[in-house]
Symmetry: C2
Subunit: 210 residues, 2 copies
DNA sequence: TCCTGTGAATTAGTTCACAGCG
DNA sequence: CGCTGTGAACTAATTCACAGGA
């Protein structure tokens, strides 16, 4: 396990894993870097380089054993473990994410939902009761939460995240378009949906001038 | 307007715009590259370089005129125009995205929602009636749609997108964890929520070994 | 022969550092 | 002076190209 792996590499590994699981379900025993690259939208050299940072998993002349590589990628990404996740904020996006089957399937289990709105507190989403965000620290300790997903209104995000971090959470997935200011030891990933649409707008307007 | 701008640069410009609009609302007349960088989580040199690809918008010794720069970034990103967007798929994530105020505020107007499920067709979301995906091409033409957001089940995504593209849409925001195969002239942005969580899992498991 | 694994070459992206204008 | 704008230097990421094992 080497020094420092680029974020872009880690993201591609997660993508490879998705397609490998598909191959696995279709019963393919092996896969070449070329076949995997085609599916994942990259090049065979990139696939081999990405994997080579972690070891030599393939057989020359043959390719990679699908099930074996799935296992290795699970280990590399740290998915052998089930992660306990809190959803902070109970708006529509939060609701969609809580219901999103893909998370649970891949070992991310949402164990609590909190909000500050008295209208929402007490309401149940599936088998989860929305709790009062005032008790954030107690809930995080009780549920042994490791990851927080932030989906609050913009003006509440920083304050809320400070409390989440104070309660011991060190990994955050942030959907709020705000730059969170946090200690270095906390990992944050930002998902900014308007940025995605705006890059499309950019592509649309600058296309003709190529 | 130069040759080829890196995707990373375009994304940062969109982020700068978000913070500049905040500065504008707070009534700040000017902003320095340092102040903007701090907010956006980058460096002042990066801010200046990003902007310099498109022109010289600042005043030496003073910084950037906030309102002026907001206007320039609007133009650069192509946000002077209102985009007509179709939501393909009417599941929970689609619902959350349709309601998401941020899109409309920034000029992305969802003008139609389609699904194949007879239970959903005819149901209204806000002022939008969910229509039959069988009529995708008619709807896209009728509503003069320019951007499609894909939020279907995984196995329907490619087929659906083929029909969307055949109907003339050239910009796609894809939330389905599938690699879409499309003609080069179509722009696609993929948002893969499990990949985001898995990079956090990677960070969590590899932290201690640093 | 086929396809991996990997140094070397290349290309892309970021940071430095400073000239020059307000 | 202060802060931008920008080549030049540097660092990171991708692609090439081929040696070598199955």
């Amino acid at each position: 396990m080497p020094r420092k792996i680029a974020d872009s590499t880690v993201r591609r590994l997660a993508v490879y894993l998705q397609f490998l699981e598909e191959f696995q379900q279709h019963g393919y025993p092996t896969v070449s870097s070329t076949a995997l690259a085609e599916r994942a939208g990259t090049t065979s050299a990139q696939v081999r380089k990405d994997l080579s940072f972690f070891g030599s998993f393939g057989k020359r002349g043959l390719g990679y054993d699908v099930s074996g590589l799935v296992r290795r990628l699970h280990d590399i990404l740290g998915l052998h473990h089930r992660y306990r996740v809190i959803m902070v904020g109970a708006g529509r996006l939060a609701g969609a994410l809580v219901q999103y089957a893909g998370f649970r399937e891949r070992g991310f289990q949402i164990v609590a939902v909190v909000d500050t709105d008295p209208e929402k507190i007490g309401v149940s989403w599936r088998d989860l009761r929305i709790e009062d965000a005032a008790h954030l620290d107690t809930i995080i300790a009780r549920e042994r939460v490791e990851i927080a997903i932030i989906a609050t209104p913009a003006d509440a995000a920083q304050e809320t995240v400070d409390r989440v971090v104070a309660a011991g959470v060190t990994a955050i997935l942030n959907f709020v378009p705000v730059q969170l200011h946090l200690p270095r030891e906390v990992d944050v990933k930002n998902v900014n949906l308007t940025v995605e649409l705006e890059t499309l707008a950019y592509a649309l307007t600058h296309r003709r001038s190529a």
